[in-house]
Each structure stands twice: as C-alpha cells, then as structure tokens.
C-alpha cells in the first residue's frame, strides 16, 4: 500500500511528536542527551515486510514486542540487530561491551523498547482519542523471519505493517533500528481516516 506524500508527512510528524516524548523520557532516565529521529515511514502488506526487513536488518535480531488493544489492535515491535542492541546497552549503562546480551542487558533493551513503543502507540491513542491497553513487553532474539512468523501466528487478521526507520543518537553515536506496527485492515483504515481528519484540523 502506497501512502501519499502528504499522508507520509503527517505520519512522520506524528511519530516525531511521540519520539520527542520518548527521547525526553530516555534522557531523563539515563542522564545522557538522547534524540530519536524518523528518517523514513512506509506501509506495506504484511507478506512483503519480512523480505523488506531482511534487506535492511539481518542476522541475529533483538526484538521488543508489545501487543496493544482497544479501538485498534495490533502488535508493535522494535527490531535491533545484534551490534545495535549491544551498543545501545553499552551506551546506556556504561557496562563493558560483552559479545552477547545477558539477562540484565535484555531488560535494558526491553525498558528502552517499551518507552519507544509506548510513545509511538500513544500517538495513535491520541489521534483516535481512545484509551489503548498494552501487554507487558517481551523480548525475543531470533532472525527476522522467525520473529515475524511468530507474530502472524498469533493473529491471522493482521494485514498491514507500518515500518518506521528509527535512529537513536546518544553520546556521539548513532544506533539504528526499525519499529514495525502491525495492524488489521479495519485498524489501518481507522488510522488513515483519523490521520486525514487530523491533517484537516491542523491545516485548518
């Protein structure tokens, strides 16, 4: 599914608002100035998302996964490749870099992922003016294909995926990852309708 330029701009702007909140929360948490940027937003059919993700992020992936429900339902996932996850953990905790994520580091990634996912999903909650409910986030380390497959198995009604390229900037380093929001047909339509309304409101 192709988003129009204006839809894409609106969506990027909205997500940036959410990310500014997440960046503020992360900065408060760690005492380091952290910024979050959205270089790219796109919507794809769910069948296409796995190969597209494989093109940009490969190998062993650390994913933070959170279900959300309410007026719209879906699944939000933050995907980081191995080096990004290790670097993010090191930058946030100052612990020496190890070759693998230990339990403590996994929790840090969950906490950070949770903040980013919440901020992003909060944007949709505000847009739709509904109260959304969230599951406790969980972490999965696997390749892209298996991560995406496990999500599809959970709910066959998921049809579309919003792919948000996300870049953390902290302590003079960039950490790049992808946030993917998976939605059913109805949920996506509701989002797009609300998006247009917001656009109209904002542009007067």
């Amino acid at each position: 599914m192709e988003l129009s330029t204006s839809q894409q701009d609106t969506l990027t702007e909205l997500i940036n608002i959410g990310y500014a909140r997440a960046a503020g929360a992360l900065s408060d948490l760690t005492g380091h100035r952290i910024t979050l940027a959205v270089p790219e937003v796109a919507i794809h059919e769910i069948e296409k998302i796995t190969p597209l993700l494989q093109e940009v992020i490969d190998g062993e992936i650390t994913s933070v996964n959170q279900f959300f429900g309410g007026s719209i339902t879906g699944n939000a996932i933050l995907l980081l490749d191995k080096s990004a996850a290790l670097l993010l953990n090191r930058l946030l905790t100052d612990r020496p870099q190890a070759g693998t994520l230990d339990e403590s580091a996994r929790e840090v990634i969950i906490e950070v992922g949770n903040i980013v996912l919440n901020a992003c999903l909060g944007v949709f909650g505000n847009l739709l003016q509904v109260q959304m409910s969230f599951s406790v986030p969980h972490l999965q380390v696997d390749d892209v294909e298996h991560i995406m497959r496990s999500i599809r198995i959970q709910d066959q009604t998921f049809r579309y995926a919003m792919m948000i390229h996300t870049r953390f900037h902290l302590r003079a380093s960039d950490v790049s990852g992808y946030l993917v929001i998976i939605l059913g047909m109805t949920s996506l339509e509701r989002v797009l309708v609300e998006l247009r309304r917001w656009e109209e409101r904002e542009l007067g």
Binding site: A25, D28, L29, T30, Q66, G70, N89, L92, T93, R95, P96, A98, D102, E103, S104, A105, E107, V108, I110, E111, N114, I115, N118, G122, G125, V130, Q131, M132, S133, F134, S135, V136, P137
Partner: protein
C-alpha cells in the same frame, strides 16, 4: 448472581489470594493518588512492613527517593494507561529491600519491576507494580563479567609476553594494566642474579621513587623463605599494617595493606620475583592469587625463552666470528699459494729458458763431433756421443714444451667469440698435408668464447697426440665434431675419463669459477683410432710429465696434454677423455658457448 458468575467470582478471589499469599514476587497496587491499596505477603516478608501498616500510605512516603531515582515518570505513564518496565541495570531497584540470596553482597536487593495501569473498561483506577528479585542473577552475572575481564587480561598479558622479543621491556605496560584491572595499586618486578645471589629491581609501578630506592637491590639472605620460593612457593601477606613483624617494615612504609609475591620459576631456575600490592584492601582472594601466579608463570616462560634466545644469539655470533676467521685463513693461504705458484712458474720458465742455449750448444757440439770427427774417434766414443746428442734433442724438446706450458699459464689472456670451424681448419693446415690427410671435420662447428692462440695450441697438441699414438701399421684417422652440452647436465657427468683438475690448480678470475652456470657449453670432440688409454691412465694424462701406459714406446715429453688442460682452464673451460684400450680415444674440449651458436 447465577452459579456460573458465582464460580467465576470465587476463582478470581482465589487467584487474588494466591497472588497475595504465595506469589514469588512482590505485588503492590495503588489508587490513582498512588496510595497503597494492596501489599502482598512477599512484600511484607522482604520489607518487614506488614500490610496493615502500609495500606493507605502514599508510595512516595514509603519510597521517598522515587523522584530522585527518576521512577515517577513510569508511575505517571502507567496512570495514563501505559505498561512500563523498570530494569535493574538502569535503576538498581524499585523499592529498597534487604537482599536475601546467600552470598550476595549488594546493599539492596536488585529488582526488575513492571508497572502497569489497573484498568476496567477504559477506566484507569490506579497502578500495579510487580517486583522480581534478580539479586542472585545479577551477582552471578557480575562474577561472570569479572571472570571474563580476568580471562581477557590474562589472554592479553600472555599474548604480549609471548610476542615480545624482549619481554623485560614490556613488563611495565603489562603489569600496570594488570594491576589496574585487578585493583592493585603497586607492582614490583625484581630479577635474580644467581652469580651474586642478589635481586635487582627491574621495574615498578605505583611506587614513590624514594621507596623504590629502598628495595633497588637486596640479597637472598633477607628472605627467610628463599629456598621455598625457589621451589615456587607464593608468598601471601595480609593485614600488613596491623602486623608488628619487622620483616614487613618496608611493606608498611610503602603503605601496603596486603601483597602477594610470586617467584618466577622456569624449569628449576629462579628468574625473579613479581609482587602485587594493595593499599586499600586487607586481603587478597585466592582467585586473584591464582591469576597472578598464572601471569607470573607466563612471565617466567617468556623471560626464560628470551634468556635462551640471547644465549643462542651469542653462540651464533661466536660461530659466525669463527667461520669468518676460517674464511680469512683460507683466503690468506690461497693468496700465499698463488704467490708460490706464480714464483714456481717464473722459476720453471727461467730454468727452461736459460737451459735452452746450453742444451742447443751441447746438441750442436755433439753433431760436430759425430759429423766431423768420426774418423778420429773410436766407435765406442761415437756411440756415446750419439746417445749424448739424442739426449740433448730430448732435453731441447722438454725445455721447449716447458716454456710453452709456462707461457700458457702466465700470458695475459683475452677471450672473445671464436668460430671453431675456422680455427680447426687453420690449425690442420699448419700441420701440413700428412696431418690434413688423416683428419675429418664434421662442419659446421659451433662458435665459442675463447682465446684463439690457446685454442690453436690445444687443437694442435691433440691432433699431434692422436697422430703419434697410432697403432703400428694402421694409418691414423681423427674425426672432429662439436655439440652443445646442457649446463645442468654437467653435474651428471659420467665420463670415466674426464680429467680431474690438477691438484695444483687454482681457479683464476675469468676461468670456470665466475662463468654463468646457465650459459650454453660447447664440446669439441676429437676421436682417433689409436692405441687408446687404460682407465687408470685416463685420470692422469692431463697432468704435467704424466704419460699414457704405453708411452715408453713413443717419443714425447708428457707436457702436451698438460698444456691443453691448463689452456682450457684459463679460458673457463674443461677437457677430458674417454677411451677403451686398443680402441682409440675420444678427447673433448668444453668451451663457454655464445648465444648465436648454430
């Protein structure tokens, strides 16, 4: 309420009861004002506060540093409907509780918390905080991380010590890093000098210069445990500052609280002592001691290897020096031999030259006596004079040949491209019609690098030799041809009759010694139908005054082939012979070829 609803309500009550009484994690629920409305048994047990004392109190009152530890935003966000994770790595704990896990040395229980909104139908009533004790996991992880760091420092130190050409030079860098990683403030490395039974300070870190001076050198006598340390005993001293033992006076002066001394032993050789000290800790763990002992072993191996290398280097240098001396001796003796040979050659030339005139006079007078005084002398006297004349003829030939040989050896030599066909044809022509009649040349012959005069001399000598040693009653016949010889085939030379160079031969510049071993070689062959030479004689015929086994039957001086050999040698060539007695001989002359040879 129908039965199903009742059953459901009971089930929910039981679930809550389990969470409250038995759950293996802490559960705190609050209202929207963060006033505690649920405090489960786990919380009671670990906080020491009973539910009745806590319920209704504000969370910020129970945990006053929530704001300071940046935990309020999570609670606020939960009140807005979001689920939050509080990781132990970023926060340590949610609520300060005493750790209960055995052997864990944290001030507070390490916790991971999840803070979620308490919701019904889109309405948020408060928050629920679920707390998990992760102290043991974190403790284990710290131990593992420490172990990992130690393994890394060990591997790093090992790699540095093994790679270093001179491990003594890098010890400072290695040990400063080791001390820093293992939380030691000072290190000392003393090397042992067995010849005077002393230790001398090689390097130190974290020491005042005046303190280093105090222990710059010391004798083995000041160490009561020297013999045990020589066997590898590690010395561990703790609580040094509180000790009154005079042995630790220096250590106390240096501010050491605990230290460990590791003897550096390779095989059964003591190489030195390595000491690490702490000024902040009273004890050193067995793990640390083991690690330092391992590093000490690495250092000992590296030092020992360096010592062996050094000894090998010295031995190698001595050997090289000796070889150089030998080479010098050989060069000196060669030069002196060359000098002697040159003098001998001059001497023999002078003798031959000076003898020629008296011999000719002798021969002339004998001829006068025989021709003019035959009638006046008795027959016996005539016979004596005849023998005298023959001897003088023989002596004349001998001195002539000797002069020739000397000339070949002494004359200045220029070597250039030479067409063998031309030289051979000219030489045969010089020998007269009789010689020409018995020689067949298989033209064309190759071109070679040689000196024309010497080649003429060689060809002439070989032809005369072949004509001379013919079988009685059979006309001599000599066949001449040339062929290319592969340079690398020379080492496989199997010609039995090849002339072994004279035992007096010394290689000269421009001779075989400095020719290009890959340049083509040309052999010029002379095959005759004469009497042949026995296998034993084949090795000698090219020596001066050496003659074939049947030479007595033929006239000659025994110098002709020696001239050939010497001439070939001087042109950087060789010569040889193959023969079966009674079946002729095949002489060969081997020249340096030139690229344009046919």
């Amino acid at each position: 309420m129908n039965r199903a609803q009742e059953a459901n309500a009971q089930l929910q009550a039981a679930t809550l009861e389990w969470i409250d009484r038995s759950a293996p994690y802490g559960v705190i629920a609050t209202d929207r004002d963060l006033q505690v409305c649920s405090w489960n048994h786990w919380m009671e047990r670990h906080s020491g506060l009973e539910a009745k004392d806590v319920l209704g109190r504000k969370l910020t009152e129970l945990i006053p540093d929530l704001e300071e530890r940046r935990l309020m935003p999570q609670l606020q966000r939960a009140l807005e409907g979001e689920v939050n994770v509080v990781s132990t790595a970023l926060h340590g704990w949610f609520i300060p509780l005493t750790p209960v896990a055995h052997g864990v040395d944290f001030p507070f229980m390490k916790q991971t918390a999840r803070i979620s909104p308490l919701m019904t139908r889109n309405q948020i009533h408060g928050v629920i905080i679920v707390i998990e004790d992760v102290s043991q996991r974190e403790w284990q992880s710290q131990i593992l991380a420490r172990q990992h760091a130690r393994d890394e420092i060990l591997a790093w130190a090992l790699a540095h010590l093994i790679e270093a050409e001179d491990p003594r030079r890098i010890t400072r860098e290695v040990f400063c890093k080791v001390a820093e990683h293992l939380d030691f403030e000072a290190y000392l490395l003393h090397l042992y000098e067995p010849e005077n039974r002393m230790f001398s300070l090689h390097s130190a870190g974290g020491m005042e210069p005046e303190h280093e001076e105090l222990i710059r050198t010391f004798s083995t006598r000041v160490i009561p445990w020297f013999s045990e340390m020589k066997e590898g005993l590690v010395l561990l001293r703790e609580n040094v500052q509180s000790s009154t033992d005079p042995l630790f006076e220096n250590a106390r002066k240096f501010g050491f609280h605990a230290y460990v001394v590791i003897p550096l032993v390779a095989g059964s050789t003591l190489l030195g002592l390595l000491c690490f000290a702490t000024r902040t800790r009273e004890t050193i763990t067995p793990g640390e001691t083991d690690l330092l002992r391992t590093i000490g072993q690495y250092l000992a191996v590296a030092l020992n290897r360096e010592k062996i290398d050094r000894e090998l280097r010295v031995a190698q240098e001595k050997l090289n020096e000796h070889a150089h001396e030998l080479e010098q001796k050989v060069a000196d003796r060669t030069a002196s031999l060359k000098q002697i040979i040159a003098e001998l050659q001059t001497f023999s030339y002078t003798i031959a030259h000076d003898l020629r005139a008296p011999i000719r006079a002798l021969k002339g007078y004998c001829e006068v006596l025989v021709e003019d005084y035959t009638d006046h002398l008795p027959a016996e006297a005539i016979a004596i004079v005849s023998r005298l004349r023959n001897s003088s003829v023989q002596m004349d030939a001998l001195t002539r040949d000797l002069l020739e040989f000397s000339k070949v050896s002494r004359q200045d030599l220029t070597v250039g491209a030479l067409d063998l066909s031309q030289v051979v044809t000219d030489t045969i022509a010089l020998g007269g019609a009789r010689l020409a009649a018995c020689v067949t040349v298989q033209d064309p012959l190759h071109s070679v690098l040689a000196n024309r005069t010497l080649v003429v001399q060689c060809v002439s000598n070989l032809l005369q030799n072949s004509v001379k040693f013919c079988k009685p009653g059979i006309d001599p016949a000599v066949k001449i041809w040339s062929e290319l010889v592969q340079p690398n085939a020379r080492s496989g030379e199997t010609d039995t009759g090849e002339f072994s160079r004279s035992r007096y031969a010394i290689s000269e510049p421009g001779s075989q010694g400095d020719t290009d071993s890959n340049a083509p070689r040309v052999r010029l062959w002379f095959e005759d139908n004469g009497i042949g030479i026995s296998r034993e004689a084949q090795g000698k015929v090219f020596g001066i005054f050496e003659r074939g086994d049947r030479a007595g039957e033929y006239e000659g001086t025994g110098i002709g082939l020696a001239i050939v050999s010497r001439a070939m040698e001087r042109m950087g060539g060789r010569c040889g012979v193959q023969s079966t007695p009674g079946d002729g001989r095949r002489f060969w002359l081997e020249f340096r070829g030139i690229a344009s040879t046919p």
